[in-house]
């Protein structure tokens, strides 16, 4: 993750990161990302309005839901795929909206969280990207996503970084 975001400038997009981690780790993770990139890094509060050119990090032990593509809701309902926050919960909360171009990206990780969400995003017309399992220490999340839907791009982490830079 740090390699991907290192040196990333302020981009004219909204990025939402859902990283499996405990609540206590979230502020430290956010601080590190804010040191590495120029995006406005935010740990959102419940009902916070989504702002452009911002990078939101789902707080540990909370699911992050996007309501009406405008607002962030946080919930501590049951774990999904054994985790909270769950990538699937966030992705599945998106709604079709022709004003926005979505991209869903699944990185290295354990389990299958995000596979269903990414397939859902594909059906919304999103671009879908998965970290190349050959570059992953733990392959199961990217592999689960690849099995479930037709992924647009399977990329090395540095290629994912290049993709982000292309959004400038």
């Amino acid at each position: 993750m740090f390699d991907i975001f290192s040196g990333i400038p302020a981009l004219p997009v909204t990025i939402i990161i859902v990283q499996h981690m405990p609540f206590s780790t979230t502020p430290r993770f956010a601080k590190r990302l804010s040191q590495l990139c120029r995006m406005n890094v935010i740990i959102p509060s419940d009902e916070e309005l989504i702002k452009p050119e911002s990078l939101y990090i789902a707080p540990g032990d909370n699911h992050l839901i996007i309501k009406d593509n405008q607002k962030i809701l946080l919930t501590s309902t049951e774990k999904v795929n054994f985790v909270r926050p769950s990538i699937d919960v966030t992705m599945l909360s998106l709604r079709q909206d022709s004003r926005y171009q979505y991209t869903g990206i699944i990185l290295s990780g354990m389990g299958c969280d995000g596979a269903e969400g990414l397939a859902f995003m594909k059906n919304l017309g999103a671009k879908t990207i998965v970290q190349d399992p050959e570059t992953c220490i733990i392959r199961s999340m990217p592999e689960s996503a690849i099995r479930l839907s037709n992924i647009d791009k399977i990329l090395h982490p540095l290629e994912i970084r290049s993709f982000l830079l292309s959004l400038k």
């Binding site: 740090f2 499996h20 981690m21 405990p22 206590s24 780790t25 430290r28 993770f29 601080k31 590190r32 040191q35 540990g60 774990k79 795929n81 054994f82 985790v83 909270r84 290295s108 990780g109 354990m110 389990g111 220490i137 733990i138 392959r139 199961s140």
Partner: protein, 135 residues
């Protein structure tokens, strides 16, 4: 390699703990980090790891998965049960391509995975990154 002398821990400073039953790994990592400006603790077992935590260790833990007795996952379960999961970043050593653990409910407590054998420069950079996160 000198044995760990007691469990006197400076609780104001984040350090590095390596948890592995493999003496060679402990020696190698200790050699990599012994001149760094943070304390390094070597735990030969999950129980030693818990002992350090109960005596106030905070910082980065590099933990092997496969250990006799209490393995890495069981150790993490104990860390969670004993409410010791604070001011910590845990990275697990893993051999590449091993099957994923079935202990899915613990994976959120592992921030990262490091394959063995590891590149020393990569390990140093990783630990520095995580200690910066904790500072």
């Amino acid at each position: 390699m000198d044995p760990v002398q007691g469990l006197s821990i400076d609780t104001t400073t984040s350090g590095l703990m390596v948890v592995d039953d493999d003496e060679d790994i402990l020696f190698t990592i200790n050699s990599l980090f012994k001149k760094r400006p943070f304390p390094v603790f070597l735990a030969h077992s999950g129980q030693e790891c818990l002992d350090y935590l109960e005596n106030g260790f905070k910082g980065v833990i590099l933990m092997d998965i496969m250990m006799p007795g209490m393995d890495g996952w069981e150790t993490i379960q104990q860390i969670v049960n004993k409410k010791l999961m604070h001011d910590l970043i845990i990275s697990m050593f893993t051999a590449k391509d091993i099957p994923d653990t079935t202990l899915d409910h613990l994976k959120e407590y592992v921030f990262d995975y490091i394959t063995k054998p590891f590149e020393p420069e990569n390990l140093i950079a990783l630990v520095d990154d995580y200690l910066t996160m904790l500072s």
